[in-house]
Symmetry: C2
Subunit: 247 residues, 2 copies
DNA sequence: CAGTAGGGATTGTTGAACAATTCCACAAGA
DNA sequence: TCTTGTGGAATTGTTCAACAATCCCTACTG
């Protein structure tokens, strides 16, 4: 035990700005890591809405015990990504029309409030512009999947203007839930593409420090998106449910 | 097996308004019931902020296995009522000042948006008035505990004006978290009492269909409450942490 | 007095076991 | 044909016991 030892000295009293990294240091439990894997798989459509997640199969595949896996399931159920039916197991959730409407109801409240409050803080806006540019680039190269995620990020940045940790978390969950909706829809590509110009308009207002103006545009944006989504979604969700039942 | 049998015929295709009762049929798992018990205990102050919840002790006391109990812990951790430290166990959370500020930031967004949208729907307002009256009665009889809960209910009803399931859930969690704050504070009685007249003012505006007016009052209300709370809370939270550390 | 090496207690995770429930196919009856 | 039991197989719900990993505290050493 006399090998080379790299000694790391950390001053215990005054290390400014380091406490924020505490979260990065803290290891995560197995259940949380498993939940992370499943969350990603659900987001990318590997597990489709309505599909059942078998404890045995997934437990074996991931090499974790049933108990640990069940803890992960609980986590995702709480995020509304999975639906838990007693003695039947967990299923990837199929959001209902009411869910879609409610999601947009909350988005209108949250995002509009965040945007309304802007005056002139150039620092924050760079992140928003970045997301708009990514969306443009994705549309130009025809990369529809990236376009969708860029659009999601754009709205998350808008919500982040509120500067609230809880708002960020809430919006993160709402968008994850929306992904389920998009997986059921037929053609998400065209859906997102329509709104690219409006992203620019909103960004312009924000950069001009015109909060209320941006809010007005954003509200119309969300109302239109919701209407279009509900229309296209109505029979799709039923079809998905029927497909699962028939399978 | 030839006793009286009450035969209930259910048409499989067209049973209007029955699907809504689906939730009532579904029983709850043990973990959820355990979480319910713990949630109530935390709310009423049986488990104080900073206290550790031993898996062994509570598992024995409630007669459930460690695995089931751990599932319940996860649930409450996700609601920010418990804090989970790896290999150290779960503790009743001690909200920080930043948490208090952030909670009020979200409350301002949510509650003000809900109130702003009112025009004139007398049906809904009865529930709000009910809560105000309960608060008055509690103050008159000197029942300070009921006064606090009545006040919480009042605000939950305000948020419910948004008509969003997700908003209701979010506000429910925020108020549960606020209860932790109140448990740390010295004198919650006087804190709530000060705001009773303002409840009436806000209710008046709502009943008059004056959404923006009510919003203005509510925003001031929340700003004042936050300021007072932060001021009174600053050293209290540290004291609670120190007390736990010393214990 | 600082640092460190045990040792006890608690949590993290697994595997197995059994009970409870659901699902599915098939037979029986109207 | 359609509905209604009735088995058994499969899956989930829950508990238990065991061990590894980690933390906390004490006592020892320099």
């Amino acid at each position: 035990m006399t090998g080379t030892i790299v000694e790391v000295v950390i001053e215990d009293s005054d290390v400014p700005g380091l406490e924020a990294d505490r979260g990065l240091v803290s290891r995560k439990s197995t259940a949380e890591r498993v939940a992370g894997v499943l969350r990603k798989r659900i987001a990318e459509g590997f597990f489709l809405p309505g599909g059942r997640l078998s404890e045995q199969d997934i437990g074996n595949a991931l090499g974790v015990s049933r108990n640990t896996l069940r803890e992960a399931f609980r986590l995702l159920t709480h995020e509304r990504l999975l639906a838990h039916e007693l003695n039947r197991g967990v299923f990837v959730r199929i959001p209902s029309i009411e869910d879609v409407v409610d999601i947009y109801r909350v988005r209108k409240i949250i995002e509009c409030a965040a945007v309304r409050g802007v005056t002139a803080k150039p620092a924050t806006f760079a992140r928003i512009k970045e997301k708009v540019d990514i969306g443009d680039e994705a549309a130009r190269t025809g990369n529809w999947k990236d376009l969708g995620t860029a659009n999601v990020w754009f709205h998350q940045e808008l919500a982040a203007l509120s500067g609230s940790e809880r708002v960020n978390e809430l919006v993160g969950r709402l968008t994850a839930e929306l992904r389920l909706v998009f997986h059921i829809m037929a053609e998400p590509r065209r859906f997102h593409e329509r709104y690219l110009p409006r992203n620019h308009e909103i960004l312009d207002r924000i950069e001009a420090g015109d909060g209320p103006g941006a809010e007005q545009l954003l509200m119309k944006y969300l109302e239109d998106a919701e209407e279009q989504l509900v229309e296209a979604y109505a029979d799709r969700a039923d079809a998905a449910r029927a497909a699962v039942a028939a399978d």
